[in-house]
Symmetry: C2
Subunit: 858 residues, 2 copies
């Protein structure tokens, strides 16, 4: 299907190109023709699946999109070129990427054809999203743009606004963004198109996701791994993904690897990935249209056959069709500017001809270029597409720019089970031990079961679902797997709902694609290595921020990230696995997007997760350990505590009626345990020291309400942390985040925060705490040092403290394990029985709803 050397080799933008009856590029037709489209000359006819009229019309449609693309990059007035181009018609700052755009427009026109012909439910993910001028142009041509943005309707005035708004203050960015209808994929950072496409296709058996991958993006790691998505996509229960690899040869300044490597190697690579590539290559429009039409027909026939075979029981993973489109960078654009070749070179990447206001010759090149598309044939006097071209694209929800999947149309809430079934019985605080994530696993199992029919919940993770002790989920589902399944394999099935691949990029990308098309999910991963997807989470947060500001965008189920195997229990893995910094990363995101929860025990983890699964438009980060640990709150207490976000734990406090001498605050499961052990230790050594224990579940209660919507109001904050008493704060992560969040609080000067200070190593769990001084002994010492009135008693207690530390250190170095009295410490329950259960701060207006409610954007 190589059309490069077709019989009618011709390009529509180069100086040697001649089109029969049309204007010679470089000598544009100055008189509008307004001839009926059916008589409009198209490219010379070559035989193929398209008849002469279809070929002419698809070419005209392509020219219309190209025209509008150039207009967006260059013009701020005179959009239809009804008058000769003058400097003031041109934008003062020329921004945007032309290079990839004509190829995207070409693909778009051809996808339109097959959607209509086959009545396809198709959405598209455009990897080269910096070709936004083309994508916006197509949404405008389909009418979707004007429906959503009435100021930019399909008329002359709307076209003027369309051009002006592009990459202009108050307008739209030069990349595909949430403002683009039909898109779920930001076109800025490259690498995630194919993962997003697979995520969108999951559990959408009727959907075909066309995914255009630029040859620049194809060099990234995440994209290189994403091809293997076909090992997880079930031909029966999931939709189809049709990759279209668009080779235009160059990045910003370099050739691309995939375009320049020998074609036999490229074919071998793609076959190795499990695809059957069809190559469409050339720059003569006629042959290219025919070749692309034929390739798309064959690919869609192939997808239909795969689906039919799967429904008839075929088990082996099929080799899936894909298309390689090799076309010139800046196709149909200026061939030469200032004596230098542009089309087909890296110089066509952004603005192929610059300084157009200032340079008359450049202005002539621009005008010739635009007129070569013959706008007078394409747009009526009112600026709208002429009727027979307007009849080309699909209608209504079949339009790529209006496919409902791309606007999360399936985003109805999950059915969620009653938390009571999974609660860990806590007869008294500290009176039970449990693995928090194991309790969560049972809950997630029932979430999967309850939504089995809706097929709108998935769990993603880098091969750690069982390692993170969520394996109860395998009682009701399996791991998705399309390859052979061998004896001894553990819970693999083609339609499993747990997706495990050793790539955080794929897990995150799949989940993003899944939630952006309206479904729900959880990404469970190791805390230290979630930094792998920092940049992806960043881009998703930016997407949410921008999409939330668009009234026509439906809410997107939240991106839920469970961090287990966390910093405090990486003893044997050591320093390389110890990093709590993802919290800091997320805390930099806007308050309307980021949520960070540090449940202290299993029941709190259940409450927090249950809440997160009800939310929309959020990035929820939950940090929870998987090791056996003391349990503090019964389910009802946990629900109230999580709803408040932070509260005093009366069972552990002995302040009486007076203000406490010291507040022992904690956030995170291990810090909570160590804080309570410190309190126990203090109580034994200094029984009359008045201690208050405050536990923080929702980290975003700490900043002021102005900084974050979850922030406690100042009186509530002060009622927890006092206005003037020392606060010893044991925190899961880097200590300075607590300082940053509480910076404006009354009592901030008295906060003494203990957290991870990069003193990691290979050691025992408790010793790891000691090294970073969030262990019970250091916390107790910190309390002693912060309280002024202790005198000689402090010396005595400090002596005991030092002896305990020394004994611990000696034992650990000798035996390799923690002292039994440290490892097996339990909260002295008898005392707690004499007190009422946890006193909790009043529920905040926008706190976590303690009762199940409808979907929430909190």
């Amino acid at each position: 299907m190589d059309a490069r050397h077709g019989p009618e080799d011709r390009s529509s933008g180069g100086s040697k190109a001649v089109s029969k009856g049309g204007a010679r590029p470089g000598e544009p037709a100055r008189e509008p023709a307004w001839e009926p489209a059916s008589e409009r000359p198209g490219p010379p006819f070559v035989p193929g699946p398209l008849g002469p009229d279809s070929l002419a019309r698809i070419d005209a449609y392509w020219r219309a999109a190209n025209y509008l693309s150039v207009g967006q990059i260059y013009l701020m007035a005179n959009p239809l070129l009804r008058e000769p181009l003058r400097p003031e018609h041109v934008k003062p700052r020329l921004l945007g990427h032309w290079g990839t755009t004509p190829g995207l427009n070409f693909i778009y026109a051809h996808l339109n054809r097959v959607i209509r012909q086959r009545d396809l439910d198709m959405m598209a993910v455009w990897g080269p999203g910096h070709g936004a001028p083309g994508l916006v142009a197509n949404a405008w041509l389909e009418g979707t743009y004007g429906e959503i943005y009435p100021d930019v309707a399909q008329d002359a005035e709307g076209m003027a606004r369309l051009f002006r708004q592009f990459s202009f203050p108050g307008g739209i960015p030069s990349h595909a963004s949430p403002e683009l209808p039909g898109s779920i994929h930001e076109g800025g950072e490259l690498g995630y198109a194919l993962a997003h496409a697979f995520g969108a296709a999951l559990d959408n058996p009727g959907l075909t996701v066309a995914c255009v991958i630029g040859d620049g993006e194809a060099e990234t790691g995440p994209l290189a791994a994403s091809w293997h998505g076909n090992k997880f996509l079930d031909p029966r229960a999931d939709g189809a993904v049709l990759p279209i690899l668009h080779l235009n040869g160059y990045k910003i300044a370099n050739p691309t690897i995939l375009a320049r490597m020998p074609e036999d190697e490229l074919r071998s690579l793609l076959v190795g990935y499990g695809y059957e590539p069809a190559f469409v290559a050339g720059d003569a429009p006629g042959p290219m249209h025919q070749a692309m039409a034929a390739a798309l027909d064959a690919a869609l026939d192939g997808l239909a056959e795969i689906r039919a075979a799967a429904t008839h029981g075929r088990r082996e993973r099929p080799r899936r069709p894909m298309i390689v489109l090799r076309s010139s960078k800046g196709w149909t654009g200026p061939k030469v500017v200032d004596g230098k070749p542009v089309e087909g070179t890296w110089r066509a990447h952004q603005v192929p001809v610059a300084a157009v206001r200032e340079n008359p010759e450049h202005r002539r090149i621009l005008e010739d270029w635009m007129r070569a598309y013959r706008p007078e044939e394409l747009f009526g006097p009112d600026g709208a597409l002429v009727p027979d071209l307007a009849a080309l694209p699909p209608q209504g929800a079949r339009r790529l720019s209006a496919n409902p999947h791309a606007n999360a149309h399936r985003s109805h809430p999950l059915r969620l089970p009653d938390l009571r079934s999974f609660a860990v019985a806590v007869p008294e605080p500290g009176g039970a031990r449990a693995e928090a994530t194991r309790a969560l696993g049972a809950y997630l199992r029932d979430v999967l079961a309850l939504n089995r029919k809706a097929r709108n919940f998935r769990i993603m993770g880098p091969d750690e679902t069982a390692s993170n002790r969520l394996d109860a989920v395998f009682e009701v589902t399996d791991r998705a797997w399309q390859e052979a399944i061998l004896p001894g394999d553990d819970h693999l099935a083609p339609d499993g709902r747990v997706m495990e691949v050793l790539s955080e990029h794929l897990c995150e990308g799949w989940l993003e694609g899944y939630v952006l098309t309206g479904r729900h999910g959880l990404f469970a991963t190791y805390e230290a290595f979630v930094h792998v997807v920092d940049s992806m989470v960043n881009q998703h947060a930016k997407w949410l921020k921008a999409s939330r500001e668009l009234p026509w965008r439906r809410p997107v189920p939240s991106l839920n990230i469970l961090l287990s195997s966390h910093v405090w229990r990486q003893d044997h893995n050591g320093f390389s696995h110890q990093d709590p910094g993802f919290i800091d990363f997320v805390a930099n995101k806007r308050g309307d997007t980021a949520r960070i929860y540090l449940p202290p025990d299993a029941n709190c983890l259940l409450c927090v997760t249950d809440h997160c699964l009800r939310t929309y438009d959020r990035i929820n980060v939950v940090v929870a350990g998987k090791q056996p640990a003391p349990q503090w709150l019964g389910l009802d207490e946990a629900a109230r505590h999580c709803a408040a976000g932070a509260g005093i734990w009366d069972f552990a406090s002995n302040e009486g009626e007076e203000e406490p001498d010291v507040v022992m605050a904690c956030a995170g499961d291990v810090p909570t345990q160590e804080t309570l052990a410190a309190v126990d230790w203090l109580r034994r050594h200094l029984p009359d020291l008045r201690v208050r224990v405050v536990n923080v579940v929702d980290l975003m209660t700490l900043p002021s309400r102005a900084m974050h919507p979850h922030g406690l109001d100042d009186p509530t904050f002060d009622s927890l942390f006092t206005r003037d008493r020392p606060v010893v704060f044991a925190y899961h992560g880097y200590p300075w985040l607590i300082h940053r969040l509480t910076y404006k609080r009354t009592n901030h000067e008295n906060f003494h925060v203990h957290g991870f200070i990069e003193e990691g190593t290979t050691t025992t769990p408790f010793d790891m705490c000691v090294l970073n001084r969030i262990d019970r002994f250091h916390l107790a010492l910190a309390a002693l040092q912060a309280v002024p009135r202790l005198g000689a008693r402090r010396d005595h207690a400090e002596q005991a403290f030092r002896e305990a530390l020394a004994a611990h250190g000696e034992h650990v170095r000798r035996t390799g394990d923690d002292l039994p009295e440290v490892r097996d410490w339990t909260w002295p329950g008898a005392e707690s029985l004499r007190r009422p259960p946890a006193r909790l701060t009043p529920r905040r207006r926008d706190g976590i709803p303690p009762a199940p409610g409808a979907g929430s954007r909190r």
Copy 2:
């Protein structure tokens, strides 16, 4: 070369395996034999490149490494099993990864053979670095370990320590780490092995880097992209990389993609990546040894041919040899435990038999397993390897564990040019405009030229060297490129020293491999997308922290990261490209590793970069714009200013002899410009307001000396920022970082920080500042609001401020460009001429040396 079904199918660890004359696994020989090694029975002989004696010896060596590996995971006493195994000989906590280890030991033994046979200069990168027991065992067998750690010498006492220290408090982690001699690659996070290997091979033409890639790691994005490193490695000027893909079938709980996909697809994939794979598969040791030996011989012959052909002028990129080793997970380990299959399944991933202290049957399995390696044949009574096995590995620097490249032996300092040649002439502050990165490009050009012969400096970047205006480097070098070079390509050559690929992962990974082997480099990239490599930078920082604590590790040239195209100049790209959070990420790293520089102009950028290129063991982050901007300091002033790290700019201050009314502080090029414009504006409206301008180049001057070695002492800090005057601080990144860094400073309560607050959009450069309130108007207003004594004059100035903002907003929305008086604003030079040049704080003890010096670990 598939040995799975060889004529003598046999495995050494399974119950059905029988070895002639040896012990039947499961019925170990209890009497030590101490027979001479040459008579020692090996696996049944099968024909191949190895003679009978070689085969027996390589198998024995492999068994020795396996024995030591198991011992490390399990034992804390009785290392040679001279007495029956008792519970107290076993560690209380069993940690480590057995699954991959025997395969690594197998590869290690065979690499040893070819190193000796060919006298190869070879180093190895072990992707499955969690197989550290095997790698440590081999370093111990080679004697390197005992040379470095005399307590762990090759004797019985040393073996006991070797076992005990593994994954034990105060010992070594369960992953390959800096403590492992011969390694440049942390074995924790997966994905970077092959990029590191390519980085190490660059500019080391005599070196062969064997790179073992686990099938788990092979699923990651960075690894999937790394195969394309062959498009950049020059067969003539660079070394060779020999990938060994180790398929053992399973991750933690799942099969791996590459092991389970059909072999023809895998072969096609690897051929598509540009390799010629040889498959070695099976589990019978005899045939496997022969097959591996044959595959390695062929691969090394192939590499030698490639090199010879390249030196004789062959230009096309060769298809490079590689090996696919398919062996059982947990090969030679327990076949069945508690009735469940272990060897060859995912259950062999970590500790194949657990609860060994408690369970006598498990203890028997462990003892049988270890005795099946027949330690009595392998180790003499003194615990050392028996002599004829000790003669097997290479000697001295040829040992994989002692290859000097893996300890940065080429880490001599760069030759650096005189900065004067590149200085931007600044006749008076603000009296010149320049593009900072363009000046830097000229400097880097000369760095490249001066070190041309040493070939020890490279620039990496995702296709942005020219876009970031560093293109002067192309006057002396090209972009590395092994594919075809076509007319119109821009500065491509096989031996180019600029490496551009659209993958931040590859850029970072190559540079890490390059500096860890002792060479220097710079990674220049977009600020927003450097988050892609957060996790890699994190792991590198952890490596540096650990390696710096090892006296035998040589200093590693610093990892230098230049962030250009930064947050404040992403106007047309918009919100998705606006993110300064990498600074926060790096600021979380330890003070002995992280350095962050924000040079305000071109000469400062030159000074800072010149300094960074002299340092070792650091991660230096430099943020600098590429757009034309006012220049503030001449080179000498810049040198003094950068040496101090922060200082008062007298030319812009008018405080006179008194304390200023307000301190206007700034860090970053755009914030500096806006601060000076605000000062200009204030001076015009309130000429008697006493303003001090402080500029911060080295962000780590802000925290206390206790927090960071670059921290200013308190008196110096107070002399800059006063003890009680309001400080309006315009900062490049998220504002809270400044609060965090200055939290303990005297005057901190008076800091008003303006920075990026996620209010990004598509707009003009200045309008972007306005939205985030780091523009001149908001900064001036902040100053007015912070100074108490202004009264009615403030109202007047505020009125002017509001008018200016409104006029600006109206103009931008209408024209798409900034107001000319804003865009073209210049510092009123005449005033500055009346003042002495910048007053700078005294040079700190450990500040940036103003004069070129020797290599520094600062």
